[in-house]
């Protein structure tokens, strides 16, 4: 039997067919995250301005509603869950030594909470992320936005909470710009429950955020 005939034979083709079929079947790998529960899927990301002196701020004010950003659309929301997030955040700030004041009392820090829904896939959020606050709300209507080069490591196709601290004390020194000195992204599953845990997680990993 010559080699050529050998490779043309039916058995030979069957042999190759089996190996190729095996390859095709093997391509379907299981989802590595299928056994990940909602709590474990949560990711808490915090960024800070390393130049900021967090002990130098004394007062803060927190917005009375949550920003809702869905791609290009924006709105406000204040349902029960939103209000409990706002209250928990205010308590966390108070426990760090900051005094809560109303926004017309010239707070040093503005606290802004946003619920972001991004439906694009494969889009990196930063440097487009941030600046969701309204300068008029904080009493600096003419101020522009200064956003440091915070960045996100991940691709986005999800909803998440975004908490930011705005430096209202040094707007003039920062060239009439409101600078975000700290932000937190709370991402993953199960973000519609347990507000205390998710807010305390981001404050808990930011030990430098303290007035002393």
């Amino acid at each position: 039997m010559s080699n050529l005939n050998h490779f043309k034979s039916l058995s030979c083709r069957i042999l190759l067919g089996i190996v190729m079929a095996g390859g095709a079947i093997g391509c379907g790998a299981p989802d590595p995250l299928r056994d990940l529960n909602a709590t474990d899927s949560q990711v808490f990301i915090t960024n800070r301005d390393r130049a900021a002196d967090f002990a130098g701020y004394a007062t803060f004010s927190i917005a009375d509603s949550v920003n809702v950003v869905e791609n290009d659309r924006r709105g406000y929301s204040a349902d029960n869950f939103d209000l409990s997030l706002i209250n928990t955040t205010a308590q966390a700030m108070t426990s760090r030594g900051y005094t809560r004041v109303t926004r017309d009392q010239k707070p040093d820090l503005g606290v802004n909470i946003t619920y972001v829904t991004q439906t694009q896939t494969g889009v990196t959020v930063n440097p487009g992320l941030g600046g969701f606050y309204d300068p008029f709300y904080w009493g600096y209507g003419g101020a522009g936005s200064f956003y440091p080069a915070y960045y996100s490591y991940y691709q986005v196709s999800e909803s998440y909470w975004y908490v930011e601290l705005l430096d209202l004390k040094n707007v003039a020194q920062n060239g009439n710009k409101i600078k975000t000195v700290w932000n937190a992204q709370i991402r993953g599953g199960g973000l519609d429950r347990d507000p205390d845990r998710i807010i305390n997680a981001v404050f808990g990993q930011s030990g430098y955020l303290r007035r002393q």
Partner: protein, 224 residues
């Protein structure tokens, strides 16, 4: 487990017509006493399942034994000591780390449960040298394989995929030693036991090499 049952079923279904359709060589009356396996190049397919332990740079990323390794090999078996063919294999490794805080130099802190995965699909040309005759009930062998490997790197922070995730194609080399055990003296079916080592020069995403050592058991079918 479902995958094993499915693959075994498919293996049997594919082989049935092979046995029926294989053309029987015309064997002269005076040589009928000699087995066709000793006279012609014959065919063999082997399906294998095994476990593997990451080695080298891979073990720094994932140190957990992989239990999802499959291989399917087709061979032309020469009447002497040699055989050659092709082998497709898939090796999967996965590790889940409990929640930890990862601190980055630029002021970022990330708290997450990390899931790390590496899977390797390879297609190699194989050559085998056997230490016993083609019809021996126990037939030890050594094997080398050279080919290409598709390495899929995965890093997940919670349910978020890292931007470094992706697949790349690399060269791969495999060596193995084992033995096959024929169920009947002139039979078609048998078992295969093998220990092997796979090497892939990888050097991406902080992993210097993707290497593993594994052991597998398999079932083979041979025909002519």
């Amino acid at each position: 487990m479902k995958t094993i049952v499915f693959l075994s079923g498919l293996f049997c279904v594919l082989l049935m017509p092979a046995g029926l359709l294989a053309q029987q060589p015309v064997v002269p009356r005076e040589t009928q006493a000699v087995s066709p396996y000793q006279r012609y190049t014959t065919y063999m397919v082997t399906l294998r399942y095994g476990v593997a332990q990451p080695l080298g740079g891979l073990s720094d990323y994932i140190d957990q034994t992989g239990t999802r390794n499959f291989a399917l090999a087709g061979e032309w078996v020469r009447p002497g000591n040699l055989s050659y063919g092709a082998q497709y294999s898939t090796n999967s490794f996965k590790k889940r780390l409990p929640r930890q805080l990862y601190t980055f130099g630029d002021g970022a802190d990330v708290s997450a449960v990390q899931t790390r995965t590496v899977s390797i699909q390879s297609l190699v040309a194989t050559g085998k040298y056997h230490f016993a005759g083609v019809n021996a009930r126990t037939r030890p062998y050594v094997q080398v394989g050279l080919g290409a490997a598709l390495v899929d790197y995965g890093l997940y922070w919670g349910n978020l995929a890292d931007e470094a995730n992706g697949s790349t194609v690399h060269f791969t080399a495999q060596i193995a030693a084992g033995s096959r055990f024929l169920f009947g003296r002139e039979g078609h079916w048998g078992a295969d036991v093998q220990a092997g080592y796979q090497y892939v020069p990888y050097a991406r995403s902080g992993i210097s090499t993707v290497a593993s050592a594994g052991a597998s058991v398999g079932l083979f079918y041979r025909w002519w």
